[in-house]
């Protein structure tokens, strides 16, 4: 189990990516899958900073990675406003360019990349996003 806490700022994104890479390397995903997992984690953490915390500043993102046989479980915890990425409708990218609203692209990527996603907002104010990728 890998566990670390990062400050609520965009600069943490590269650090979180490096941190999650350790677990990815341990389980031995192929290069493309490893990259996609890092994208999903980046998108989820960006959402926490932008939507749960409403921008950079106070608060932390706690990241833990649990490597079990054949799967990687990534848990992100924050104490911002509950933001459940599993309930956001899929945006439509089939529209003409000038009508394109790119909001939601990150969520599409998370949903397409990870095998399981769940979100829990606990009564004590902690939000827990769990993402699982199987090998």
């Amino acid at each position: 189990m890998y566990k670390a806490t990062f400050p609520n700022r965009f600069k943490s994104l590269a650090e979180i990516s490096e941190f999650v890479s350790q677990a990815i390397n341990e389980i031995g995903f192929d290069e493309t899958t490893a990259y996609t997992i890092l994208v999903a984690v980046d998108e989820a953490c960006t959402n926490i900073i932008e939507h749960a915390y409403g921008g950079e500043g106070q608060g932390d993102i706690q990241c833990s990675c649990d490597v079990t046989e054949g799967s990687l479980k990534i848990i992100l915890r924050d104490r911002g406003e509950p933001f459940d990425p599993t309930t956001v409708p899929e945006p439509d990218f089939s529209v003409p360019l000038q009508e394109l609203e790119c909001r939601g692209a990150g969520l599409v990527l998370i949903q397409k990349i990870m095998d399981e996603i769940s979100f829990v907002s606990k009564p004590d104010g902690e939000n827990v996003l769990t993402m699982i990728k199987r090998k």
Binding site: L13, Y35, T36, E50, Q98, L100, C102, A105, L109, I113
Partner: protein, 111 residues
């Protein structure tokens, strides 16, 4: 992040190195905006040294593409996007708005 630009007779070449995420995307956006604000709308983005791009980074490219293609005055084309990045962005259909070239010279020559 290291972002450089080079002006060709018929287009502008932009090259960035490293990660494009929420931390670094504003710098890339500022570079594209400086070009389009100057009235130049034919741009090649060389992604050969981009190691990572999040949807925030892609959104910068899409916003730039909107500006370039408005009134049919130009185009933002992409060169040297690596397989991992292309595969990931294809998952969300985010590259359909761009012409993609394997080589910078081909991309520059397309204008």
């Amino acid at each position: 992040m290291d972002v450089t630009t080079k002006q060709y007779r018929r287009c502008e070449l932009v090259k960035a190195v490293g990660r494009i995420d929420s931390q670094t995307a504003p710098e890339v956006r500022d570079t594209f905006e400086a070009i389009t604000n100057d009235g130049r709308f034919r741009i090649v983005f060389d992604m050969s040294d981009i190691t990572f791009i999040s949807s925030v980074g892609v959104w910068v490219l899409l916003e730039t593409q909107k500006t370039c293609k408005r009134y049919n005055r130009g185009d933002l084309v992409i060169a040297n996007v690596n397989e991992k990045i292309q595969h990931t962005l294809d998952l969300a259909g985010l590259l359909t708005f761009f012409r993609i070239y394997d080589d910078v010279l081909d991309a520059v020559g397309s204008f």
